[in-house]
Subunit: 764 residues, 2 copies
Amino acid sequence: MKVLFVYVGLIAGLLGIISALYIYNWIGRQPTGTEKMVEIWKSIREGASAYMKRQLKTIIVFSFIMAVIAGISVYIGYDVKLLPQHPEMRSEVISESILIAVSVVLGSASSVTAAFLSMDASTKANVRTTEAARRGTWEALRTAVLGGSVLGFLVPSMSVFMLSLLYLVYSFFVGGSNPLSIRIVLDSLAGFAFGASLSALFAQVGGGIYTKAADMGADLVGKVEAGIPEDDPRNPAVIADQVGDNVGDCAGRGADIFESITAELLGSMIVGWAVYFILINAGTSQDTAIKFMLLPLLIGAVKIISTIPGVVTAASQKKFNDPIEPMRNGVIVTAVVALIGFAIVYILFFRQYWGYLLSESLIGIISAVIIVLATNYYTGRESKAVVEIAQVSQSSSALTILKGLTIGMRATFVPIIVISSALLIAFMIGMHMPLPSTSNSLAIAGIPIEKFLYGIFGTALATLGMLSLSGIIMTLDGAGPISDNAGGIAEMSGLEEEVRNRLDPLDVLGNVTKALTKGFAMGSASLAALLLFQAFVQDYVARDPSVIQLVSGIAQINMQNFLVIMQQFINRLVLIRPDIMLSFLIGAMIPYLFSSFALDAVTRAAWMMVEEVRRQFKERPGILEWKEKPDYYRAVDISTQYAIRNMISPALTVILPPLVIGILFGGAAVGALVVGATASAVTLAILMMWGGAAWDNAKKYIEAGHFGGKKSPAHAAAVVGDTVGDPLKDTAGPSLHIVIKLLNTISLVFIPIYMIWLLSSVLP
Amino acid sequence: MKVLFVYVGLIAGLLGIISALYIYNWIGRQPTGTEKMVEIWKSIREGASAYMKRQLKTIIVFSFIMAVIAGISVYIGYDVKLLPQHPEMRSEVISESILIAVSVVLGSASSVTAAFLSMDASTKANVRTTEAARRGTWEALRTAVLGGSVLGFLVPSMSVFMLSLLYLVYSFFVGGSNPLSIRIVLDSLAGFAFGASLSALFAQVGGGIYTKAADMGADLVGKVEAGIPEDDPRNPAVIADQVGDNVGDCAGRGADIFESITAELLGSMIVGWAVYFILINAGTSQDTAIKFMLLPLLIGAVKIISTIPGVVTAASQKKFNDPIEPMRNGVIVTAVVALIGFAIVYILFFRQYWGYLLSESLIGIISAVIIVLATNYYTGRESKAVVEIAQVSQSSSALTILKGLTIGMRATFVPIIVISSALLIAFMIGMHMPLPSTSNSLAIAGIPIEKFLYGIFGTALATLGMLSLSGIIMTLDGAGPISDNAGGIAEMSGLEEEVRNRLDPLDVLGNVTKALTKGFAMGSASLAALLLFQAFVQDYVARDPSVIQLVSGIAQINMQNFLVIMQQFINRLVLIRPDIMLSFLIGAMIPYLFSSFALDAVTRAAWMMVEEVRRQFKERPGILEWKEKPDYYRAVDISTQYAIRNMISPALTVILPPLVIGILFGGAAVGALVVGATASAVTLAILMMWGGAAWDNAKKYIEAGHFGGKKSPAHAAAVVGDTVGDPLKDTAGPSLHIVIKLLNTISLVFIPIYMIWLLSSVLP
């Protein structure tokens, strides 16, 4: 049974990767259009590759250092706390330390590979989408969607595949199949998730700085001061802007999804481990019990497979009034197929519980839908909120900014209610699952301890349910920057009006899906972060030296001790302890500090970009009269330098606090830090992303001819709003998803060193 | 002994009130200047009074409704949960319900009285400061400082006086002096704090909307579009702007401080009650034990008295290079006198523990100093951050906004670290106080339960320590709007250049102290909120039906049960329970939702104001040519209407969630809600207030001649930044202090109804 679930994960993963490669190849075989198009396209591709190479170098060096630090910390932590009590475990400790270090590097490498391939597919598809638009709208849409589907297939599949593969390899390496050895495998896999989060943060922050510096620089001088249109080849920052779309939106998003899926799968497996462990102790067979732990891999497989009909639907519908229709149909098809897939899996393998499990998955899917609808309500193109921003823009850009902030703040309401209710309901369903029970009377937080752990497993399934749409959603998301670029290429290579008109609805579609998927990404990231927090708590307890005992010479986890220690640990996690309060407040500060660094980098880079574009226009007046070619390279260079140089400090605001807090105050404090950061990040990210999207659409609303249209004072004010919103919604906001997951995965990996807990004598 | 401490509070309170009235009288006897000055001054005073009257009406109606709801809820809660078990307590329950309702009305009335008198003193002092400036800078400074000191004396004194008085009256009314009856007195006093918070929120939100709508309307059209200077009498919104300074900054602040001090004193008394209760049970005499509970009143008395030499110092130093000097000296004198006062009190009455107690108070004072210095570092007039904002303003207002947000976000660092460390250190000192101990082996959150309660008492003292500077700080704060108004009156009545030049440094001073005191207010509000949260937890447990037992016919609190129930309650307050997580996330959302409503009201009102001013300039072109008088009344009316109408919805975002959550999920969930809101509010408020202050000073930096000076593009961009920052720093930001305290006091008052806990059967 164990073998079956993991192999299904492996095979589905392979299938997804093959689909992705097949599509990748198909795209490569499409025509690339005129010479001029190819020339522009090549500059974009080269700029993107050059940047990615420098970025990869930085990421790899940093990941390698972190891998070594992680391995050593794990060893030291165990050496101080575990080995004095259990000297027989030295070999396990050494192998765990090594496996963790290796996993960090592998996670990081997989993540950057995912990022690189996603970007590569996207920079391949852009010019071909332009070319396809010369044939028709549907052809263009199909190319963009299939280009996006490389991201949608490849990334989740790589995650499921790698986790399944590493699970098999590590199991072989660690040996044995008792709960303790399985735990060691999971602990080592945590390194993989950590490596993935780490790279993702770098990729998203670096890419986010790059793209927004270029975008703002191009807009502020080009559009506002010089009055030339968007994507005009006279603008020295225009190539940097196009490169930015790829390295920011595609590569960043690829790494982001990879780490999301990996972290969620692993988190659910860790949470599932506790269920498995209790079932084993309640007399259930190993084969039956372990199904609960390995279920996430099966769910991952269902997700990959259900994405296929969705993508086919979206790419093959030839007739539509609005390109959003085939997209929506694709999502619906995927959701239905996924639900059917879940039902089959649950009925086949969890007959007694299938109703519970299916309702939990359903909760996740429904939550995703509500959040996406809410996003549209607050930031949709003609929503009340957006029209109000446009309206006050007639007075002053200050009111534009204030109104956007207002809307971003108000938009926190629905997602917070939905996410927290989903957690609560899924927990209550899980709690009441009629799973076998050991006879112990312990309670944590007032709830019988086993019901508590089953409840948490329920929330894990809801989280995975929401995630089941990620493949198709990310396909649509990936289609956005491709269309955006395709439009840019058409503009720059001076293609006929008709072609550009065919690409326009795609561009609009890109903006719509981008905003909607932001809602989805935020929702799933918060659920994932809270899931990882639960996993952290359970994992911390499982690694406590006193839960381990020798049974006929073999180290085992003692269930009674596990539950008692869990009770003790959780009792410490109360908001009223001053060290918990401290960690929690510091956690709440992290997203602010992080965003500050990220936005500051964008602001500085944009300022340099503005100066550079102004300088070129001033020193070489021929540029604006089409007589001289601007120096694109300088702009590309500014974005690259600022992005690479400024990736590090935001990342450190995330990496350092859990280490310092954990070593000083122990694991409970780290838990509080993570929860504080999650709550703060969710609200702040919504403010930044929804506010940003609303500003963006308010500008577009005015451009559509309302309140004076283009070149009116209202438009100028709206442009300021949009420019402020850009780095909020594309640099800081989306990075915050990764921040909270990185905080969680870093916590998981460094658990052994937290056990040192330096201040435990002063504050027990 | 009990009588002594309360009487000291009464007398010191009276003394403070008398000082305030004396100064108030002195100000009234100062000359008011030319006829023109008096005319303008009267319009301001009338506008302010007219607004205040309408505001008071709304507040009183609302408070009355809330009082009735509170009284009934308390009764229902007890009737469902307590009375079935303890029918003998019906008379106590009835008197508590009535006393709470009465207290809410009294609290609200006291708060509005404080607000009204502060504003009255301030609108009396403004014209007299202008007149004094005709004699010299020192004379003007003295008038402004003494005008502010009415606020500084009156408000804390009223709080200490009323609490002492009500304590005596309620004790007499409730009868008995065992821990239970004292508890009932404290519970009833919670209604007073709640009433005060409620009015303060209304006053601050209403005043904040009023002042910023007028200010923004005046600036956006007058300064930016028409190009007339600030406070120019041709601007139709100029009187509304001056009125706003008074109703927003003075009245709002008066109510704010009143509720702060009241809530902090009461919170510390509730926390002190637990120490008293344990000491009683450990065999300490009633007289000795109750000192710990009544200590806050004594500290309040020390604070009032130590403010006197500080104000005298600040008002009497005739020679200075910069008006900040006498201010700083005033603060230093107060701090030193307060510390000496504390030492005397502690040595006299708590000989064994004086070292512990004094260090706790010192922690509070030091934290206040660090936070004020940090405020200056991030937002000071020539600080690096401010210069950077000014610099990027040369590019675009979008970068101005982004840079300000960046700085506001980064500024969260120091205050969060200081506040949380202060709590932690004070807790650890308290924990190690060698107080007598009962022999029980219970632990909460891993810490022996009595040490835990002593630790919390330590944090209460640190909070009170920080607060000991509030009298003098608020004096300086009150001097700000008086100087601001004085400058405006001088401008509008066309006084000679020399007088205006004398007032300029005072105006600058006003801005500096305003920014610094914002830091102080934020720091003390967060500490107060966390203190009230601790008080809430203890109070919740003390009201549990099962802690009450009959001893020879008299209801008493059983200590063992109290500790056991406390342990159970706190164990439920863990971040991992889904209902706690839900409440906590909803709590984190409240400040966003609240700010959204408040800012939206300002944005709408400002938009109306802009339209109105534009209309007047357009329809009556004579205004700008000094030929016609603008219609000031219309602008005053717009501000008034919007402020009154839009006070309610932000307040409801604060009042409803704790009621709904508490009734559904019980008290622990309310605790989590409050903590979530506190963490979120602290960070968001710092972002808004520091960011706003930095934008303000960046604009002034440019106006001082840097980066092109006035009328440069950089200046235009900086004005946008300042305009965005204004409602953030003066409406939403300062209201958030009150929000978190109102959440806490509402939680305290409604405890009995939370005990109904509807969902306890589904989620125990």
